[in-house]
């Protein structure tokens, strides 16, 4: 009678503890430092140690969720192609339970083609500098889900875009 109860108690207690602290402050620091190194040295293979293979990233600058580490690397490769001198810093970090919140700043010069929904845009030579925030959810030491927020409009304006009211379709047929 008592033994199963004790086992049950141990089990619930063990579970509770796990839910409270899946990632420690030191582990979080190490992982985010490695992430910054991966980006700043364009060594994207380092990301294998950070993200789970089936990670899902919700990034407000991406039209759809980025599903899987390979897709994430492809997305980053496009960033690095547009901003070959991309430099990133982490400015603040919150670690709680299975989540970390990081505030980051990214800067770079647009000396390569930029991949957008309008197609590839030629390099502008413009400098970009913007900050954002990411929430990461960890499981077994790796990031399994990520949410990224930043002011995409500001970044696009730095890259030479402007925001305009809808344009009437060009009367191409009349020209013929």
């Amino acid at each position: 009678m008592i033994i199963p109860l004790v086992i049950l108690l141990c089990f619930t207690f063990g579970c509770q503890k796990q839910a409270e602290e899946v990632i420690t402050e030191e582990e979080a620091k190490a992982i985010h430092n490695l992430y910054v190194e991966a980006r700043n040295t364009v060594n994207l293979d380092l990301l294998d140690e950070i993200y789970a293979e089936d990670v899902v990233v919700h990034d407000c600058s991406a039209p759809e969720d980025i599903i899987g580490l390979d897709a994430l690397k492809q997305y980053y490769s496009n960033n690095h192609r547009a901003l070959p001198d991309l430099h990133m810093t982490i400015d603040d970090m919150i670690v709680k339970g299975d989540r970390t919140v990081t505030v980051w700043t990214l800067s770079g010069t647009n000396t390569g083609p930029l991949h957008t929904h309008l197609g590839d845009m030629p390099a502008t030579g413009n400098k970009v500098h913007f900050s954002g925030v990411a929430i990461d959810r960890f499981d077994e030491g790796k990031i399994v889900e990520e949410w990224v927020y930043f002011n995409v409009l500001q970044l696009m304006q730095q890259l030479g875009f402007t925001i305009v009211p809808p344009q009437p379709p060009e009367p191409q047929e009349e020209k013929k």
């Binding site: 339970g97 913007f130 900050s131 929430i135 949410w147 927020y149 500001q154 030479g160 925001i163 809808p166």
Partner: protein, 179 residues
């Protein structure tokens, strides 16, 4: 008899050590409990803040913010003063009178609370030069707040402004002559 002389101090030392460890463990868990309580209180302050914003309860906002409250939206806007936040809120609610904040997640650690949220609103008057469209919009964002003595001392705001603009019918275009 001689054995007792040895065992007694040993037992005394042992019990003392165990007792001491226990006490240390106790204070540690008490500190953790106190910390968890503060973090829960901080979350409640954040919930109250968004409720006060949506209800346009200025009196409650004044309670929740110190005079030298500051807001930073990196590289976009940065200001100090809680009255400015009230002006900012009033201007926003003029364009979006039914705006309401929904908190999707709160992460509290130490004196900080990270807030994942979205705003639902109807565009009923001019906003950033865009005349009323009557459109229903949803804006997603993240705020990080630092709480000092039961008040929100600092807020950092990260929002997808482009997403909002696109919902209002605006389009992103390369600037003329920059090609």
């Amino acid at each position: 008899m001689k054995q007792l002389y040895i065992i007694l101090p040993l037992a005394l030392i042992l019990s003392f050590m165990v007792g001491f460890q226990d006490r240390e463990a106790m204070t540690e868990s008490e500190a953790m409990k106190a910390q968890a309580e503060v973090e829960e209180q901080n979350k409640e302050i954040v919930r109250d803040f968004f409720k006060a914003i949506d209800e346009r309860n200025t009196e409650k906002l004044m309670e929740l913010l110190p005079i030298d409250f500051s807001l930073t939206s990196p590289d976009i806007t940065e200001f100090t003063g809680r009255v400015k936040l009230v002006h900012f809120r009033d201007a926003f609610y003029e364009s979006f009178p039914d705006a309401s904040h929904t908190i999707d997640e709160l992460i509290a650690e130490g004196d900080k609370v990270a807030v994942k949220l979205h705003i639902n609103a109807t565009h009923e008057a001019e906003y950033e030069g865009i005349p009323a469209t009557g459109k229903k919009v949803t804006q997603y964002g993240m705020h990080i707040m630092r709480i000092v003595d039961g008040q929100i001392k600092e807020i950092w705001v990260f929002e997808d402004v482009l997403g909002l603009m696109q919902q209002l019918g605006m389009e992103l275009k390369p600037k003329e002559g920059e090609k």
